[in-house]
Point group: C3
Chain length 367, copies 3
């Protein structure tokens, strides 16, 4: 327990934990102050995500290579998953889909771009393991093609019946999870040397005892779920007040909040000239969203949602995700980086955010 | 003749030749058993395609480098061409177009992916001639851009008159054939060293006498034409019975059947760690479809079809072909392969097949 | 002055200057002979563009590296800019947009392709600085993504009000100019060594005195403006007579005319086996159009046009620009070239031109 407290004292990000009780109390006292609750919830999720990711890593370190890698891979996007499940439960399908697409775009443009920019401001040119970057971007590219191909290929007649769309999304979800399993087999077992960056640098940090890590994992998961509920309840009203569409909130806000913890790690690695790690976190997390989080949400929607969710994204989302992953693939292909590459990635992200803010997918987008 | 018999005895694939008389007889006896005829015809075409490709290679070996290469390149997709011409004659334009698009996708995703997977299951990492792979994928990429650009760029008003679409497709077909001629000049004459993989391994096999080869070529061409006619006649009814759309049949079934012989060669090369050859067969065959088979069918449609055929593909086909060639380009760019790359290519192919099966291009697709 | 005359005597291209007075006089005498005026204006602009580019380079050489690079970069597409401003003033928005998109496509397909072909007809295989080509193509790719993303992502409801589209385009224009400033900072200051090709070969040529250069710049700018006005006035009628749509004129004719001077330099460099320079002129000019000319035209439209111009391109233009830049990126990635690569680029350009000529964006395209 003392190591948890020490961790909190030394990590300014974790001071934000104070917002967790704040938002829970505020939700009781002023349940109608949607904008306040929205802002508090967003701020409170950030440190919780950091704790979650720390606990996951501590557990995976104890359990040895194979199981640990599996755990890390499966729980790496736990925050996004919890928020999305809460939104699913509330029937906010547009928010869920926007957060899936947005998480892929945010990871492959914003996280990667900011890593390149922050690293590039300190180092003139940064080189990194080209083979590893290529494997990750190949996986990401194929994952998004598989996720989006049906939406890109077919213009589903809604008149043709939701049942077929449903069945189709279910079959696709199962295919995606199988591919995810194969990708884990490939990256953790048969060809793990291709993905290896020498050390992930956890060595320097104080290790958590396993009990503390498991305890933290459970408690924080519950807290994230509680805060997510407030977030999802308030988001509709708050967004309207702040002039944001549900698509913008899901695509930009939820994606940034959910990935905050990983970003902190990726940015710090970039500042230490270890772009291998930044690239692998950014692209690895993006492909996990496509291959694991998205299909799991489809399967869960049969249990927790008011009706099953399909995987039909609105056309603009398909285009943005494809542009983002192709750009990330192209950029990581050379194994070299300079500040301007990062600036350009951020710039494309800004264009997307601006487009979503000013021209949200309206009533004519298939939700 | 005895070498032909020896060949048949030693090649289990050729035992399927028994289905050739079977389907011809069945078509006489039970002309209304469409599903049976469809299945028999599909199975009968496979060994015929293998014989065709073997005869073509035997002839091209005898005639020396330049003429041989030309022959091999021009007759390499003879089976697809014969089936398509039969369908053209019957006015089945959707089937023809689907089989053109499907052949490109099948070659660049399924044939390439299965080669990578089969090779990767035996060898940890396979390396191959990067320059050759790049030349082939560059040619393929440009060929498909040229083939699809008009469909991607223009949303032709059908109201604007079929005549203009017709003229446009005719002009495009001529341009494509000119480009094909230039590509042969480049790959067989001015820069043939870039495409060379040391030996094509025919040395080991028993050589056919030239007369036998030419005789086989003619006889088998006639047999393929006869079986194709039964196939095209039965396909509509059989597809309806089996729940498949004409788009699915053309895109998946015809493409797989037509390429079966080349696949056997490509897979066996991959198992012998000669991916150069697999890549060159898969991508070379795909670009030949785009640059040669497609425009030739447009020109032939003026002679054999009830009305001229245009080159307007339905939007989903355009997207799938573009995704397939970009993916193949990206994957062959590195000159290395492992089993998972093959699995991912097959996986994207499965997603496409599933999409076509469950969401065929309906009445709203421009046929 | 004598050096200007000597220059003209030794450069056959400049003999076309005789068409400048010819078109100005003809416009007075036969103002209704639109087709004649159109042809004369097109021919007259070519040598003026050559003089403009020569004067710009002479000035930039005198003013030292940083300022000179800036000048060269900003005035490099001055001809295109003047023509576009004249068209803007006349309210010909379709022509302006088509010339922006067309300039990008013409530079990255036609100029690059013809350089590769002309160089390749003399040299078997040409190698060039791969890093430089990659930097240029990365910049171009991101520039066009930023320019086109909104058009690709959003299908703006026109019913939703032009005001929003206007504001959106204005915001995007400002973002693009900021990115352009950063790209200059990167390529001229912080990382200029990545873009360096040893010498740009101006050394051999006779240097112009600075006064002559500045004088030429101003006089020629005025002449281009005068000729452009005649061009824009006559183009509508002439195009109708010659069966060309405004989209075709802007996309192909204006783009070829505006880039004629740069093409002369790029082609001559390719013939001297200095593809570095050809690639950098072609791709550098294309990204400048996207990052500088296009947004400047949006800003200027508030001053000189009858109403503000937005950045919504018609869907076909978006597709062609994306295909052109992706192809150029792919092709320059390897740092090697042969004649067939150039032929294929020209071939794709021809397919686009044919498409635009035969199937212009009709009334259903958003203009």
């Amino acid at each position: 327990m003392s190591s948890l407290l020490r961790e909190i004292r030394h990590t300014p990000l974790l001071w934000l934990l104070i917002f967790v009780p704040a938002v829970l109390i505020a939700a009781r006292i002023v349940p109608a102050a949607h904008t306040l609750l929205f802002v508090l919830a967003v701020v409170a999720i950030v440190p919780l995500a950091a704790l979650l990711s720390h606990a996951t890593e501590a557990i995976s370190e104890k359990t040895g290579d194979a199981v640990g890698g599996l755990l890390n891979a499966t729980l790496g996007n736990l925050t996004e998953l919890i928020i999305a499940v809460t939104a699913l439960h509330a029937g906010e399908y547009m928010l869920v889909k926007a957060s899936i697409a947005g998480a892929i775009v945010t990871n492959s443009l914003f996280m990667l771009g900011a890593s390149f920019l922050l690293g590039g401001l300190r180092y003139h040119v940064q080189e990194y393991n080209r083979a590893g970057g290529r494997m990750h971007s190949a996986l990401l590219l194929m994952a998004t093609i598989a996720l989006l191909a049906p939406a890109a290929v077919s213009e589903l007649d809604l008149a043709r019946g939701e049942v077929m769309t449903q069945n189709f999304s279910l079959a696709l979800a199962i295919l995606l999870i199988v591919a995810y399993g194969l990708s884990l087999l490939f990256s953790l077992k048969t060809h793990k040397e291709l993905f290896a960056s020498e050390d992930r640098g956890q060595a320097e940090e104080a290790k958590w005892p396993i009990n503390l890590a498991i305890g933290t994992l459970f408690v924080v998961t519950v807290l994230v779920a509680l805060v997510s509920e407030i977030f999802v309840e308030s988001v509709q009203h708050a967004a309207a007040t702040l002039g944001m569409s549900p698509a913008f909130v899901g695509f930009i806000i939820v994606a940034l909040v959910g990935a905050a913890a990983e970003m902190a790690v990726a940015f710090s690695a970039a500042r230490k000239n270890r772009l291998d790690m930044s690239v692998s976190i950014a692209l690895g997390s993006a492909s996990q969203i496509a291959l694991f989080v998205a299909p799991v949400l489809v399967l869960l929607s049969y249990v927790v949602g008011p009706k099953p969710m399909d995987l039909q994204f609105w056309p603009g989302a398909v285009t943005m995700v494809m542009i983002a992953t192709v750009t990330a693939t192209f950029v990581t292909n050379s194994g070299r980086s300079a500040w301007f590459i990062g600036a350009l990635l951020l710039f494309i992200y800004a264009v997307f955010a601006m487009t979503l803010y000013m021209v949200p997918p309206g009533s004519h987008g298939s939700v």
